[in-house]
């Protein structure tokens, strides 16, 4: 159930962006990176991200592996390039999978509840999760 809440938050990020998919995705990733780096540092984030890309490559082989030591200012340059090279639908699908994979790994390391807190602090609650939160209260 908790996993599905996390996935719903990610899903809510996808829906509104049918144009400038790559740009929107990069903003989402930068927001997520800022938060994750504050918890596990640059190298921790890079390890998580590289792993996520690797796993997502089996579905989207065109996703390039991140460079060995990505700098903070162009950490997602390759992702941007990859997404821009695809149709919006394909780019959305790949970004969705990448985000879910990333947060799946994070949840396997720090637990689902904490991951959801992190995800909410980055992107805020969608309506549904807000209402769920209200019910819980």
């Amino acid at each position: 159930m908790a996993t599905s809440a996390r996935h719903q938050i990610i899903e809510s990020l996808m829906a509104p962006h049918t144009e400038n998919v790559a740009e929107a995705a990069i903003v989402q990733w930068e927001q997520l990176a800022a938060q994750i780096i504050s918890i596990v540092g640059e190298s921790g984030f890079n390890a998580l991200y590289a792993r996520s890309v690797f796993l997502a490559q089996s579905t989207f082989p065109w996703l390039a592996a991140s460079s060995s030591s990505p700098q903070s200012d162009n950490r997602f340059a390759e992702l941007r390039m990859n997404l821009e090279g695809q149709t919006p639908a394909q780019a959305i699908e790949a970004n969705r999978l990448l985000l879910i994979t990333f947060t799946d790994i994070l949840a396997s390391l720090i637990g689902e509840q904490l991951t959801i807190r992190v995800v909410r602090s980055v992107w805020g609650n969608d309506d549904q999760t807000k209402s769920q939160h209200g019910v819980q209260k």
Partner: protein
């Protein structure tokens, strides 16, 4: 929010100033001092006190800022340490996950390797055995049939020997691919090893379904395989067994299919056979022959007989054909028809064929050494020998060892051997011509010869198959056989080739051939195949009264 005491305690500021000044200023004194400063004390003294107090406050603030900074720095350090620790934990955990995945993947690879053929990636014998077992269980529960097919590529060894193992391997991969394309997803194609494949048709409604699949496979395999600039044509033999009639378990079904496959092969290959119970006895016999064949060379059980070839005008012996016989310790004299196909199939034809060539060459030389007229000896060459990559080299060595001039050796090749890969055959034939041996096309008329190739093959002789002679009963015969024989004689003349009629058994057949200008003949009418000693006698005396007056061999 005043102080609980009358005295504001001020922590000792750092710095030299703290050492020279009082550490406390009493509040009451301060208030009182303000009252009395104008009246009791000098203005200067009051200003000093105030100045000192101000300085103390500044120091105090500075110290507070510094303390806050120190605290913040300590907190930042702590966060950095936590981040680093977290980063290390994340990295270590991900690395551990990767390692676990690698171990899992290696395990899966090992498992795959244990159950699949390395070359074709098809399921191997072990996996196929398992799948047949499962399919039998299912068929038994549902009261249904299944079919097991044993497929063996005809004369695959020829290809391996002539074109090399790399091409052979690529051919096997191509065959595997085509077989997979011929079956349903629920069926299994496996490679048993070598050129043998087993196919499981997990659910067949009727036996005819399996026959349909077999025909489909034979047709798919018969299309040329384009490999390494070669267009390779292959045929296959398929044996089919059906559960539950032909076996109750995987082993017996495979064995039955294998047995049926040998029957398909015995029938000339490129076909399929369903298993029948009486095939078992023949399978045992075949296996016995193969086992005995392996021992025959070492036990010197082979011998050669020679059948004279006669000039139909002069009656002279103008050559002999060497014919191998197998003197089996228990079964007596065995003729080539009974064992040559097994020798070819098992690859034993290569050493047996080499022995025949060597013996024939030695014998031809021995007759010459004995002062007998030099005549060529003809030796049948099988497809496997002809395509063997060392054939030419071995042949040269045999001629040299025997001390026989190459022109006294004639190699007899069938049309099917030459036409199998006609372009390659032309090349080998040219090499053979270059060393000086004579070449004959054996059993001419029974196979398929492209006339354009016939012109390109540098052959000296056409040998008319004996089956055509059977139909000729009189000199003026106008049967189809007679027409074919006459046509071949004409063809030989046109291409400036010798024509030898095989299987001449009657005076009428001889007369027919003579009337049409056939140059040479061979058959029981002149002489049965005979020992080397008997042939030596014939060479001395000639064969009496065959074409008229007895004639000694031409010198």
């Amino acid at each position: 929010m005043g102080s609980a005491s009358d005295t504001d305690e001020i922590p000792e500021p750092s710095g030299p100033a703290g050492k020279d000044r009082p550490l406390t200023v009493r509040g009451k004194d301060r208030r009182r001092g303000r009252d009395t400063v104008l009246h009791d004390e000098s203005a200067v003294s009051s200003r000093d006190v105030l100045a000192n107090a101000g300085e103390d406050l500044a120091h105090l603030r500075k110290w507070e800022v510094r303390a806050a900074e120190t605290k913040q720095a300590a907190s930042d350090d702590h966060i950095t340490m936590l981040q680093q620790a977290n980063a290390n934990l994340v990295i270590a955990t991900i690395e551990a996950q990767k390692l676990a995945e690698q171990v899992q993947s290696s395990k899966a690879q090992l498992d795959h390797l244990a159950h699949h053929d390395v070359l074709t990636d098809l399921p191997n014998r072990i996996l196929m055995h398992d799948r047949i077992g499962q399919a039998i269980e299912l068929a038994r529960r549902q009261d249904r049939q299944l079919a097991v097919m044993f497929l063996d590529v005809d004369r695959f060894k020829n290809i391996n020997d002539s074109l090399g193992h790399t091409v052979g391997d690529q051919l096997l991969m191509s065959i595997a691919q085509r077989l997979v394309e011929c079956v349903r997803h629920s069926d299994t194609v496996s490679r048993q090893g070598g050129d043998e494949f087993i196919i499981l048709l997990a659910d067949v409604e009727h036996a005819e379904d399996a026959a349909l699949s077999a025909r489909k496979m034979l047709s798919a395999l018969a299309q040329p395989h384009h490999i390494d600039r070669h267009d390779i044509h292959v045929d296959a033999s398929i044996g089919i067994s059906i559960y539950p009639d032909d076996g109750q378990d995987a082993d017996s079904l495979i064995k039955s299919a294998d047995t049926a496959m040998y029957h398909a092969k015995e029938n000339g290959g490129n076909n399929y056979k369903f298993f029948e119970q009486d095939m078992n006895a023949r399978a045992v016999q075949r296996l016995t022959i193969e086992t005995d064949l392996r021992l025959a060379l070492g036990r010197q059980e082979f011998l050669l007989h020679y059948q004279p070839i006669i000039d139909l005008q002069s009656g002279a012996i103008v050559g002999v054909e060497a014919l191998a016989r197998w003197r089996h310790p228990h079964r007596g004299l065995i003729f080539p028809g009974e064992y040559i196909w097994i020798a070819e199939d098992s690859g034993l034809i290569v050493p047996i064929g080499a022995w025949i060539l060597r013996e024939a060459c030695k014998q031809a030389r021995a007759w010459q050494n004995a002062g007998l007229p030099p005549i060529p000896v003809a030796v049948n060459i099988s497809a496997v020998q002809f395509r063997h990559k060392d054939f030419l080299e071995n042949l040269t060595g045999i001629l040299k060892d025997a001390g026989l001039a190459p022109r006294y050796l004639e190699l007899e090749l069938t049309e099917s051997v030459l036409m199998h890969d006609a372009d390659a055959a032309v090349s080998v034939l040219k090499d053979l011509k270059a060393i000086g041996v004579r070449l004959a096309i054996d059993d001419f008329g029974t196979g398929y010869s492209g006339l354009s190739y016939l012109k390109r093959f540098p052959v000296d002789t056409l040998k008319i198959d004996k089956s055509f002679m059977h139909g000729i009963t009189q000199v003026t015969d106008d049967s189809d056989d007679a027409a074919i024989v006459a046509a071949v004689i004409g063809l030989g003349k046109s291409l400036n080739q010798r024509v030898i009629a095989e299987g001449v058994e009657t005076r009428e057949q001889l007369a027919f051939l003579q009337a049409r200008g056939c140059s040479e003949g061979q058959g029981f009418y002149f002489s049965r195949p005979a020992t080397a000693q008997k042939v030596a006698e014939l060479l001395r005396t000639g064969i009496e009264g065959v074409v008229g007056a007895p004639k000694a061999p031409t010198q």
